[in-house]
């Protein structure tokens, strides 16, 4: 059995246990031996993108210490995977990012599967998060996985490629612009009448969900939780 390490990310560690649980279920269903190194904390993205290079560098080194011994590290976050791949070489000179795979990359490119045997009889719309799509180049991999889910009704999200306005500390430093972007994203999500809004990053979903809980619309869900659902 191939061993893979799970990097759950700090956001999921703090707020969304169901997402990493879902990743464990999917990977185990496909026959992988999942390891959860308990010393993991944060990839350092918030520090790096907010301009705190030293702090980010220390956290990047810790990441290397925790995950250095694994050939494959799977994470349910496009932006954390992009952090390791794009920024670690500049911060620590480490190329560990090449072994960090966002879930859909691992499933489609490494495991070579699109149908993971899931069943989810609901209407779902999908928001391609910016870092996953643009920095990591996920393309339609998460969508291909979702299309193979039994019973799912996938509907298009209008202006899907538009940023939701999260952007890490951008949401605080430029709260008004961020909120204006969020309002459009929420309106587009609500216009789909879907039951769920799926994405590859719970940080973005926290933002969109935080708006939707006030204005109404589909329930935010990480697409891993859809892939983990069975009939």
């Amino acid at each position: 059995m191939t061993r893979v390490a799970l990097f759950i990310t700090c956001v999921n560690d703090a707020l969304f246990p169901e997402t990493p649980k879902a990743v464990v279920r999917i990977l185990e269903r496909l026959g992988y031996d999942v390891d959860f190194p308990a010393a993991q904390t944060c990839c350092g993205q918030m520090h790096a993108n907010s301009g705190f290079k030293k702090d980010a560098t220390r956290l990047a080194r810790d990441f290397d210490d925790v995950f250095g011994g694994y050939d494959a590290i799977v994470t349910p976050s496009g932006s954390c995977a992009a952090m390791a791949r794009d920024q670690y070489p500049h911060l620590t000179g480490s190329d560990i990012g090449k072994r960090v795979h966002e879930l859909s990359e691992f499933l489609v490119d490494v495991a070579g599967v699109e149908d993971v045997g899931a069943h989810f009889p609901h209407t779902v719309t999908y928001h391609p998060t910016c870092h996953g799509t643009r920095a990591l180049g996920l393309g339609d991999k998460p969508l291909r996985l979702l299309r193979a889910v039994g019973g799912i009704d996938l509907v298009d999200l209008p202006a899907a490629d538009q940023c939701c306005g999260f952007g890490g500390t951008f949401a605080l430093k430029n709260a008004e612009v961020s909120t204006a972007m969020l309002a459009d994203k929420c309106a587009n999500a609500a216009a789909t009448s879907a039951e769920y809004l799926a994405a590859a990053d719970n940080s973005c979903l926290t933002h969109i969900g935080g708006g939707i809980s006030r204005t109404g619309g589909p329930r935010p869900i990480h697409y891993a939780e859809i892939l983990a659902s069975t009939a």
Binding site: G44, R134, F166, G211
Partner: protein
Amino acid sequence: MSDLVPAASLIPAGAPFPKAAKVALGMPQLRRNLAHATGTIRAKRAKVAGELDDWEALRDTAAAVKANVQRRLPELAVRFEENATAAGAVVHWARDAAEANRIAARLVREAGAEEVVKVKSMATQEIELNEHFEAEGLRAFETDLAELIVQLAEDKPSHILVPAIHYNRTEIRDIFSQRMGDAPAGLTDDPAALAEAARLHLRRRFLSSTVAVSGANFAVAETGSLVVVESEGNGRMCLTMPETLISIVGIEKLLPDFADLEVFMQLLPRSSTGERMNPYTSVWTGVQDGDGPQHVHIILLDNGRTGVLADEVGRQALSCIRCSACLNVCPVYERTGGHAYGHVYPGPIGAILAPQLEPGRHDDLPYASSLCGACYEVCPVKINIPEVLVHLRQQGPHGAGERAAMGAAEAVMARPRLWRTALRLARLGSMPWRRKGFVRRMPWPASRWTASRDLPVPPKESFRDWWKEREK
């Protein structure tokens, strides 16, 4: 009809971006105008860029040519000077805006003129040539339609390519009627009628001016030629009719060889106006006997550029060809417009160019981005704008409060046991703020979040607890 208020004057001068943006967000007409205009150009660009099979190869080539120029800038600048001089042009060097303005004003006086017509030029906006001329008792008349609108409104450009993007046609009709002097009575907001009024107004200027001022899109070192790319033909009039032509050109505009234009002339029109080809491309090399301007001056402008060149990550900003594709796709620019940036170069490119051209100023601009990366995706010369934004954030100063918060977060995250304790405490800590399953209102600074969004409550059972339980 209301009195005209220049849009730029509504943004408090020198206000930091978040504050300026908040003001701009409160202007519904501005937001409608911007969303409509950027949306239209965005779609046109995507269509015509998508037509070329070798679009990505063109982008790679353009990026490589520009990187090469940046490595060889001193050599190319001297070669350009030699070849332009040999062709009859007079080349001047300007360290900064003040020097460029002084040279330009002197040249106008030496030509015996007090007025000039202008081709749309970002370099002259950057050095505030019009304002300087006015202070010197000279007058500069913009001849690009949108620049004319902005000048008549006594406003500032809010976009690199379409500086009057923040006005709709009704507002433009009002500006013409009140400010143009020779606007026809009963002018409607029909685009053709507005264009005709501007044409008649400008024609008189073209015929009476003896000096023109331009910028240049490209300066070819191999031949000493300058290139201006435009749509309206006003540029061609300015570049051919007057006796004296003064061109102010940033040194980053250099290209090694004439053949390099082949790449950029495919990328620029498609990226900027969403056209396969722009209507007018003017190329001139020094003086042609009896044809066109007989006195050709070129002012090569540094104004902070060599400082940018010294930064190995930041210097890619000098590759910019001012197409404004990044502005048109930027979700931040689309909502705030250009004036909020407080600099002549707004949008994503401005956010990396302004703080580098004027070190110590505009430190707020690298944060005026969610790092969504839409700008990098469309940039015809592949400037990795998100990379430079993060780089500049890492160079810039940070407030004491943020430093303390980030330091504390790192200290916890660097100690796994402390991190686990902090996560448990987070659930307890959220208790006073919970309402119906969400954290809905928190004190400052978390209120910056909860003012417009809820937060989920930290879960009863963490992933770690679940994992530990199943490992038993």
